[in-house]
């Protein structure tokens, strides 16, 4: 069972009540089955509920209706098997890179020696050698994001939820991290749910792209993409899929609430 997961969302919807008492429907009847070791990208306009959906999967919020199951067990609270990487990296600024990466292990009372080995391994994987004792403020945005990824990977969860992790990076760094993520994914075989605004990124990374409608977010379309990795962004095949998705998100079907 370790490291692989079968995640199933059944009819999830979520309604918030704002301070003024207005009801805001954020998500509406989302049903989706995610296979073990699958790489899912969520694509959708701002405010359509992508973060909300990840939070519900992570057990940080409860859905208003519906249920989530991980390998047949219902999720209604944070589950150590499901780890989320937040939209803002949210590293602990008072901890060094090593201490940030080791945070989850510390919580799980992994003995110091074992912990150090694991941290070392992930520092290598994300390529942060030489920055072990740096503080987050000494790192660039891209490096911080890698620390957050390493922190999540270090506890070896079966599901990784990533909320637009590369949004703030420049094109080059972004490409680099995408490649690294794929390598890590291939090595560790997690189930990944990845939120992005970039069609390019989704096409480059995903097994399946889930396109959501504007708020309240519903599933508009699910696009499977099974071309082999690494994919060539400049290939005709890539351009075709990209065009398909771009067309889709501009269609009334997906661009109207």
């Amino acid at each position: 069972m370790k490291n692989i997961a079968n995640l199933s969302l059944r009819d999830i919807s979520k309604t918030f009540t704002s301070e003024k008492g207005e009801k805001i429907e954020s998500l509406s009847s989302i049903s989706l089955d995610i296979e073990n070791e699958e790489f899912i990208c969520l694509l959708g306009p701002s405010g359509c509920g992508k973060t909300t959906l990840l939070r519900i999967i992570a057990g940080l919020d409860r859905p208003s209706t519906g249920s989530i199951n991980l390998d047949g067990y219902g999720i209604d609270r944070p589950n150590p098997q499901i780890v989320m990487i937040f939209q803002e990296y949210s590293l602990y600024p008072w901890r060094t890179v090593v201490a940030n990466i080791g945070f989850g292990l510390e919580l799980r009372k992994v003995p110091a020696q074992e912990r150090h080995l694991i941290i070392k391994k992930y520092i290598e994987i994300v390529g942060l050698e030489g920055f072990e004792n740096s503080y987050p403020y000494e790192l660039s945005g891209g490096m911080r994001q890698r620390v957050a990824v390493a922190r999540a990977l270090a506890v070896d969860p079966s599901v990784l939820l990533m909320d637009e992790p590369f949004g703030a990076l420049d094109a080059q760094t972004r490409n680099l991290l995408q490649q690294e993520l794929l390598k890590i994914w291939e090595k560790t075989k997690k189930t990944i749910v990845f939120v992005t605004h970039s069609v390019d990124e989704a096409v480059y990374l995903a097994d399946r792209i889930v396109v959501l409608t504007p708020r309240p977010g519903r599933i508009c379309e699910v696009i499977s993409e099974d071309s082999p990795r690494p994919r060539d962004r400049t290939s005709i095949e890539f351009a075709k899929v990209r065009r398909h998705v771009l067309d889709l998100i501009n269609q009334p079907k997906c661009s109207l609430p």
Partner: protein, 255 residues
Amino acid sequence: MKKPLYFFLPVLILIAWEITATFINNAFILPRLESILAVLLNPTATTYTMGTGSLIDNAKASIIRILLGFLLAAVIAIPLGIGMGRSEFVHEFFDSTIQILRPIPPLAWVPLTLAWFKIGITSIVFIIFIGAFFPILLNTIDGVRGIKKTWAEVAMNLGAHERQLMGKVILPGAAPTIWTGLRVGFGVAWMCVIAAEWLPGTTQGLGYLILYAYNFGQINVVVAGMVAIGLIGIGFDVLFKWVEKRWFGWRSLER
């Protein structure tokens, strides 16, 4: 201190003081610098302090009292503040009481203090406690509430228990704000030293010395006492800021 400008105004004030003092020639209005310096530069002498021990003895007595009151305030205010910051219930429970007690001057507590804690160090410490308590409490509440929501969520997401959350996220995250509260609280504690040492049974301390010297018109001793309080105050403030920079530097460097 490489910046000469730092010394400009103080030196200017001293010169103006001395000239005016010479001109007015009335020690009750402006004692001469010499007479003030005589007290300050002989901190171990008992010549000027009218039987209260030396200036250093007085300073020591005050510092010990202030530290005690301050530490007591910290020990009570920080846990209470964490509770109030974390739980709406605890906050509502204590808030009204704290709001009404907060504006009451430490000096006003003297009558009840004497009745409750009798003469002695307890009463003095209590008055200082009153002064230091509220800044520490309010800053702790603020600090805990100011914790980034995602910091706590990351921890929960990674499986932290309530106790781990407290020790590994809430406390370190709120620490810089709490520290500021401690710094401010310590400053207020200093400001209560006169009120505290006004209590019966006190025979020593900078606050006592100021009042006592005043009763005998020894304005130069009064001013020397004020300067001593100012200098010690600066000393502690520098210490607090140094720790802040060393331990909590991440906050100002963040983003």
